[in-house]
Amino acid sequence: MKSLRLLVFLLLGIAVPAHAGNNTATLPTGTIVVDTAYFDTTTTTRFDNSRVARPLMDGIQRYEPGGGLQGAITANPYVKYQLFVPQVMYGVTDDLTLVLAMPTVVHTSIKPNLGWTPGDYQNNLGRPYSESDFWQWAKSMGQDKPGDFSGNNWTPADMVLGVRYSLSKLKAFENNGLRAAVSAQVAIPTGKPADPENLVAAGTTVWDLNNYGDAELHFALEKPFKWDDFTRLNIGVDFHYAAFLKHTYQSATGAQAPLLMTFAPYIGPTYTIDPGDQFGATFLVEGMPFIGPTLSTWMNQHDPAKSAQWPALLTLTASLKYAHVNQSTWQSQSAMWDWDHNKLWLPGDKNTVRLGADISLMRLGLPLQLYGAYLTQELIPGRNTRATDVLMAGARLLMKFW
C-alpha cells in the first residue's frame, strides 16, 4: 500500500515545474487511485545568460519618428496560474501502472505592471515624454495601454497519458536493495493557445505552462533504508528527458495592438515554436519522522500487523531537480523577428527545489492521503529560463473493486 502515495508523484511531476517523491513505485494489480490537486503558481522572474534575475520582459524602447527616443516601456509582469489536476491511476499488473491526468487551468491572471523610463527631450513638448504623455500618444496611434489579463477559467490544459514499469525485480537491482523503474508519458493537445492578438495573454498548452513535455522518458533508481524493519529514509535519483514538439501558431495582425503587435505582414500568417528539449536529473531525499499508530480498522481487517508496512503518518521530502534546457526556436518568414525571440530563449538550465509533506490516514482506517509541497526555481539561479514558485495541496483516495 505504501506504493499508492508514492506513485501519485509521477503525474504531479508532470503537472508542476519539478517533481519529487518515490519515482519507482507501481500500484498493485487492480488498484485504482483517484488524485486531485490544486496548484498555485507564480512567475515573476527570469534568469539571464549570466544567471542574474531579471523581470520576465525587457523594456520596450519606443521612438518618435524622427524625434529620437520617447522612452522605454518597462514591465515587471506577475503571472499567476491556478490549476486543478485530477488524475486516475490503475495498476494493470504489480509492475505496470497506467495513468491519465487532466490538468485544468482554474484561472490565469497577468499583471504587466507597466512603467516608464523617459527618453529624449522633445522640443515640441518642452519635456521628455512622461508615461501619461506616451500613452496619450500611443492612443492617437491606435494603441491603447495594455491592461491586466484575467482568463482561462476552467480551461483544459494538455491532457497526459503515462505508464510506468517497475524494474525492481531485476536481479541487478534486487540483490543490491535498489528499486528502479522506467516511466513514459505523452501529452494530448487539449489545451488552448493564447490569443495571438492580445499583448498580455496566456494559454494552457504544454508550451504555455512550460512544465511538462509533449513526451517524457524517466529512469529512476532508489535506495530505501530501514530501521526496525520499516523504511525511514529513501534516497533516489530520477533521470529524465522531456521532448517538446514544434507547434504552429497564428501570427498577430495588430487587430488589438496595432503599434506593438502587427507581425503578420512580414512574419507570415503563422509561425512555429520548437521548444527546447529538457533533460537532467532529480535528487531526492525522503524521511519518515513519524510513523504513527496503527489502528485496528476495516482496512486492515482489524489486524494491525497487516498494515505494518503502510505509509507513515508523516513523510517529509526534499529534492533538487536540475534540468538543462535546449534552445527554443521561433521560425517565421522573418529571421530578424525570430532572433528577437530566440535570444530570450537561449540554451540554459533551471534548478527546482522542492519541499513536501505527506500525511497518510491509512493507518487510522481512512484510505485517504493529504499532501502539500512548495517548489521554487528562484532559490538556485538558472540560466535563460523563467523561474516559477508553486504552492500545492492535494488529496488522493484509494479504491479497489475486486
Binding site: Q61, R62, Y63, E64, P65, G66, G67, G68, L69, G119, D120, Y121, N123, N124, L125, G126, Y129, S132, D133, F134, Q136, W137, K139, S140, M141, G142, G254, P258, L259, T262, F263, P265, Y266, I267, G276, F279, H324, N326, Q327, T329, Q333, S334, A335, M336, W337, D338, W339, N342, K343, W345, L346, P347
Partner: protein
Amino acid sequence: MLRMLKPSSIALTVAVLLTACAAEQPPRYQVVHLSGTSYQRGLQHGQQMSSLIKSFYSTLLATSLLPYLNRNQPDIAAYLHNYDAVLHPEYGNGQFSLLLLRESAASLEASIPPQFVEEMHGIADGSGMNYQDILVLNTFVDTVLAARGITYFLQQAGAPRVTQVEWLGASLVGDGVDNNGDGTTDEPTESLVAPYESLPHAMWVEVPSTAKVRVRLHDDDAKVDPESVRVIVDEKVYTLDSPELVVVTPTDAGGLPLIHDTDVTVTPAAPWTKPIVTVQVQAGDNKLSINPPPSHEHRMRTEQFTVSTKGYGKPPHLVPNQGVSDGTSQPPSIGFAVRKSATPDGQVRLAHHFSLLDAGTSHKHTLVQIHHPDTGPSYAFVGWVGIAYGFAGLNSEGVAYGCNHSDTLNNPLAGAFLTDFFDAKLLSSGEPIGFLLRDILAQAHNADEAATLAYDTTPTFGWNFLFADKGGKLRAVEVRRDVGMGGVIAKPGEGRANWTPDADAAGVDQWGVPWASEKQDDMRVGAHFRPLANDFAMDLGIFNLRPQRDWSSYYFSSVRAMANLAARITANYGKFDLATMIATLRVPELVDAHDSMTAVVIEPGLGKLHAALGTEPATDSDFDTFDLTSAP
C-alpha cells in the same frame, strides 16, 4: 552494448546535447551584388530581401510613420479642405497618410527615370509586395520631409518667438567697437536687434561680461506662460524660480500693455566666465493644445544667439553661434571630405553619417547594394532594403558622395499651397533625391559632373551634397526649390550653390570666409544651408514664411555640429587617414544616438567603401570594407 560505450563518447554525447542548436543572430546588415538589367537587379534585390523588405515596410511605415502622420490630419484639413475626412471620406478611417504618400509618389513617379521604375517593379515582383508600396518606400522621404517642414513651421507659427534682443546695463554704444558687425560703430541702436533673426555666427562681439540681456517674446494668438520660460546664459539655467530672471509684459509708447508680448530679462549674479557666451531661450504659451496628443502648450524651438566678451578680438562672422548642447537636441547628418595636405598619404577621403529616421527599426534593415549594370560603371551605396538608393555611395569611376537633407519651406508642397491655396493637395514633384543620387552613380565620371547633375536637378526638398573624386576634386552643392506666389518653379541655376575649396568665388561668404572649409583641402556639409541661408521669405499675411534658420529644428544643432567638426578638422589637419576619419565620425558630439542610420568612409582613389551599419547609432559598429575594384 553498454560496455562498448567509451567514457569519451558518452561525454561527447552529453556535450552535444548541452550545446546543440543555440540560435544564431542574423547578420547586422545585408549585402547584395546585383547584375543585369535594371529589372533584373531589382528582382534579385526583392527576392533576396523579401522578408526584410516586408518587415521594413511594416515597422517603419505601416506601424510607425503612417499612423504618426495620420495624427496631423485634423491640422492639415483645417487649411486644406481636400483632406477633410467628411468631405472626402477616402481620407478617413486612418487612410489619410497612406493615400497622401501614394498620391505624392504617383506624382513623383513621372520624374523618375524609366530604368529606376523598372528596378522598383523588379523589387516588387521579387519581394512579393505590390508596386505602389515599393514606390512609396522609395519616395516617402521626399514627401515626408517637405510635409514635416510645413507642419513643424505651422506649429512654430503658433508658438512664441523672439522678436528682439537688447543688452542692458553695460552699453555697447560708445565703446568704440562695431559690436554687431554691421559696418557702423556705436550707432544708437547697437545694443538692440529688432527684428530678431537667427544667425550662424555671433550676434554681437566685445560685450561686457556684466551685461544683462532682455529678450522680447511675441505670440500671435496667446501669451507666454512665465512658468515655461527657460533661459541659459553662459551654461547657467534660469527659470521663473531664479531671482536673476524677470518676466514682464511690456508697454507701448502710450503706456498700454502689449498683451501678446513678454519681456524676459536675465541679470546674471556674477560676470560671465567664458570668452564666448551663448544665450538659449525657450518658452511656451498658455494655450493648451490637445491635438495631436499628448496635450501640450505651443513650444518654440530653443532659440540661441552668441556673443563674445571684451577682449576676444574677432568680428561676429568669425565667431560661430555654436552654443553647448544641453542634451535637448541631437546632431544631424554630417559629411566631410579631405585630400592632399589634410591627409598623411594624399588619399581623398569622404566621411558621411546619415541621421534622420531610425524609429528603432531602420538600422535593422540596412543594406549595402553593389550594382553591376549591363552598361556603365559599377557602384555601391549604403541604404535600406526595398529602397533603390542610399545617401552615400561610390562608383567605379572614383566618384563618391554624401547627401543630407536641409529643411526648407521652399519645396513643392509649399509651392502647391501657394498655387492653389486652400484647394491645394500635398503632392511632391521634381526628381526624387534617391534617383538623382542613382543617376550620379551611373553617369558621373568626376566630382564636377556629379555636382552639375545635382545642381541642375529639380529638387523635391532642400539638399546638401558633398562630392569627392579619385582625382582629388571636392565639391559641395546646395539646392532647394524656388517657389513663389503662383507656384513659380525655379529655372536651373536659381536657388542653388556649387563650389569647391579651391580659389572659387562661389566658395566664400561676403567676408571672404570659406563657406565650408577650414583650409584648401577639406569640405564639410551639415543639415543647414550656408550659401542658401536666405532660402525663403514671403509674408502672406496669415503666414509669414521664413528662411530655414528661423524655424528649422535642425538648424542650431547643425550649426553646432559643423563648428565642432571644423574644430576637429583643424586639430587633425594632415592626419586624416582612415582611422582618423572613423574616429571623427565617432566623436559623441557628432553622433545622433537615436536616429543614426548609416555611417561610411569612402576612399574613391582606392575604390573602397567602409561602412558601419546595423546598430544604433551606426558608428557603434565596426567599419567593414567593400572593395569595388575586386567586387565580382
